[in-house]
Amino acid sequence: MICDDFVDQDEFPVHVTSMTLSCAAGQGLAALRQALAEQRSGLRTNDFPGCELDTWIGRVSGVEDIRFDPDLAEYDCRNNRLALIGLEQDGFVQAAEALRKRYGRERIACVIGTSTAGIGTTEAAYRDLGEDEHFDPAYLLPRVHTPHTSAAFVARVLGLNGPVVTISTACSSSAKVFATAARLVDAGLADAAVVGGVDSLCLSVLYGFHSLELVSDQPCRPFDRARKGLSLGEGAGFAILEKTPEQSLGRLLGWGESSDAHHMASPHPEGAGAGAAMAGALKRAGLDPQAIGYINCHGTATPLNDQVEARAIRRIFPTPPPAASTKGWTGHTLGAAGIAESVFSLLALNDGYLPAGLNLTEPEPDWEDFILLEPVEKQIDAVLSNSFGFGGSNCALIFGREGA
C-alpha cells in the first residue's frame, strides 16, 4: 500500500544543494568522478584486521589514523571516524555552517541511515572482555554502542539541533533518509535537512554475510552471468536538502517505500516489494516510466538479488532505461548504500555520464537489453536509485535535473 494522495510538485520541492561521498573508490566527488572515468574499482583483497575470510572488500584507507578531539572522544568508533572523513570532503562542513546561518540550528533536521553503527567497537569490547565479564573502561562509551551513534555524532559535529533521527532498515537505511527528511520539512518540523548514511566494515557483517553464503571470493560482478555474490564495503555520504535553494544539484521528485512481507534475508521471488517501491516513486513524482533516463540498481551481485531486481524493473518499465550497479567500485556499503547510490545518481544527472557496471562482461539474456556494458554519455532529466534490504525493506528514489 503506497500512499494514495497526489503531491503537487510545486508545493513540495526539495532540492539537493550539497553532497559528498567517501568510500573505497575515493574520498570526495573529484576522486569518485575520476574512478568512474578510469573504471577503477576500490575493491581489494580482504585485509580487514581479525578476519581471515577469502574475499574482496571495499575498505576506506586511513580510517584507523583518524584521531578525535577530546570533546568528541565519547563518539570514537570506526563508524564515526568514517563519518568525519566523509564530512570533511567537498566543503560539506562549510556548507552545513552556511545552512545553519541561513535557517538556524534549531530548524535543521539531521537524518542518518546506518546498519552497523558502532558495533565494531562493541565487538572489540567483547574480544577484550576480562574474567569479570565487564567491559574494559576504555569501552564504556554509551554513545558508541547504540544504533543512534552516527546521527547523534553528525548533529554534534555540524551543530544541528532540530530533529535528530536514525533510520536503520539494513541496506535501504540511507535511501529512506531522503523520504523522512522531506516529510519532516513538509510537516514544518524543520526548514532544511542534512541527510546521509554511514556504515563501516566489522566482523559482524563480514562473518554474517559469509554465514549466509552471500559473499563472493572474487570482486563482485553485478549482473554478470558469472556473479557469485557480493563484496562488502564501507562508506560515508551526506547531502543537504532545502526547499528554496540558491543552487540545486537535483530535485527529489519522488520516493517509494514498501515491504516484501516475505522473508528476513531473501527478496520476494518476483520482486513484488521492489516493484512497488519503484511504482510508488514514479507515482509520487507524477512521471511515466519513460521519463527515467537511468537506473542506479541496488545490484548487489548475489545470484538471486540481481535476477529479482531485473525482473521487477522489467515489470515497471515496459522498455527499461539504461541501468547499472556501481557496487563494483564501492562494494556493498549496506547502511550507506542508499546515500552512495543517490550520489552516483546525482552525478549521472549533473555530468551526463551514465556508468556501466564493473566486472560485467556477459549479462544474462533477461537483462542484456538494458543493463549497460559500456558507459554512455547522455544528458538525462530524471534518474531512479534502488535500495533493498533485509527485513524486506525497499526504497526507490527519483531525482530530477533542475529546469528540466
Partner: protein, 263 residues
C-alpha cells in the same frame, strides 16, 4: 507549527503492564498487574513464538493491542518501530560468538541482528506490504518515533502505527544500558476526524522540559528505568488521566509538547 492528530488505539506490554487495562489500573493508583501476562501474539504460531527474536516477543503484543483497539488489521497502517538499542540479546550473542568462534556464527541470528528485525517480522506476520520502518534515537527513541509518525500523518492519508520498545541488556552491555524492566508501548495515530478516535491531541515543537503531572510511583519508576517508557506521560494524556500539556524533551535536538486541542 501545530500538528493535530487522532489516537485510534493504544497498547502496552511490560512486566506488570500487560495491556491497556493494566495501564489504566496503574494510572488510577491501584498498582501493577503483576499476576497477569500479555495475550500471546496472534500473528505468530506457537512455534514461531518460541523461535522469535526477543525484540519480536517484546514488541508484537503492544502493537497488536493498538491495532485491535483501532479496529484495524495489522497489515493496514504504516508502521514505525523505534528502539534505542534494538535486540540486546542478539547483540550479546553476535559479539560473543565473533570473539570466540566467528566461523560458527548462525546465519539466522545474523539476519535477525538488523535493527529492523522486529519491523521486518511484523511486515511478514501481518502481511504488511506498505512501508514498515525502523528508527532509533538512543534515549530519545520515543521522541524520534513520534517525530517520524507526526510527519507521516501530516504528509499521507494512512494511519500510522508507532511501536516504541527497549529491552534489558544481557552480559557486559548492562554496564552501558542498566535498564531492569523491558518496555513496549504502541499507538495508532491518524489525521484528525475519526469518529471512533480514543483521543484527539495537538503536537507543537518545544525546547524546554516542562514538568508533567507526576504519574503514580510504579509508572514513574519505569520512566526512570527504561527510556522507551518516557512515552508514558503521553499515554496518560491519551488515557485522559492528565489534561496536559506533556513534554517529551530531546536530550539532543528539539522537544515535542502534547496537549488536548482547545476546540
Amino acid at each position: 507549527m501545530n500538528i493535530d492528530f487522532d489516537i485510534l488505539g493504544a497498547g502496552i506490554c511490560a512486566p506488570g503492564l500487560p495491556d491497556w487495562e493494566a495501564l489504566l489500573t496503574a494510572l488510577a493508583g491501584r498498582g501493577l498487574s503483576e499476576d497477569r501476562k500479555a495475550q500471546p501474539s496472534a500473528l505468530l504460531s506457537p512455534r514461531e513464538r518460541r523461535r522469535a527474536p526477543a525484540a519480536v516477543k517484546l514488541s508484537f503484543a503492544a502493537a497488536e493491542q493498538a491495532c485491535a483497539m483501532a479496529g484495524l488489521e495489522p497489515a493496514e497502517p504504516v508502521a514505525v518501530f523505534s528502539s534505542g538499542m534494538g535486540d540486546l540479546q542478539i547483540t550479546d550473542y553476535m559479539c560473543r560468538t565473533l570473539a570466540e568462534q566467528p566461523d560458527l556464527l548462525s546465519p539466522t541470528r545474523f539476519h535477525n541482528s538488523v535493527h529492523n528485525a522486529a519491523s521486518g517480522y511484523w511486515s511478514i506476520g501481518a502481511g504488511a506490504t506498505g512501508d514498515v520502518t525502523a528508527v532509533s534515537g538512543w534515549r530519545d527513541s520515543a521522541l524520534v518515533g513520534l517525530l517520524e509518525c507526526l510527519s507521516r500523518i501530516h504528509h499521507e492519508q494512512q494511519p500510522v502505527l508507532l511501536v516504541v520498545y527497549d529491552d534489558v541488556a544481557c552480559g557486559p552491555m548492562r554496564d552501558l544500558w542498566p535498564t531492569e524492566q523491558p518496555f513496549c508501548a504502541a499507538m495508532v495515530m491518524a489525521r484528525p476526524g475519526n469518529s471512533a478516535a480514543v483521543s484527539r491531541l495537538q503536537a507543537t515543537v518545544g525546547r524546554d522540559r516542562d514538568p508533567h503531572d507526576e504519574l503514580p510511583e510504579p509508572l514513574q519508576a519505569r520512566i526512570v528505568d527504561n527510556p522507551a517508557a518516557r512515552i508514558l506521560p503521553l499515554m496518560a494524556l491519551v488515557a485522559g488521566h492528565t489534561s496536559g500539556p506533556v513534554t517529551l524533551a530531546g536530550e539532543q535536538g528539539l522537544s515535542l509538547e502534547f496537549q488536548v486541542p482547545i476546540p
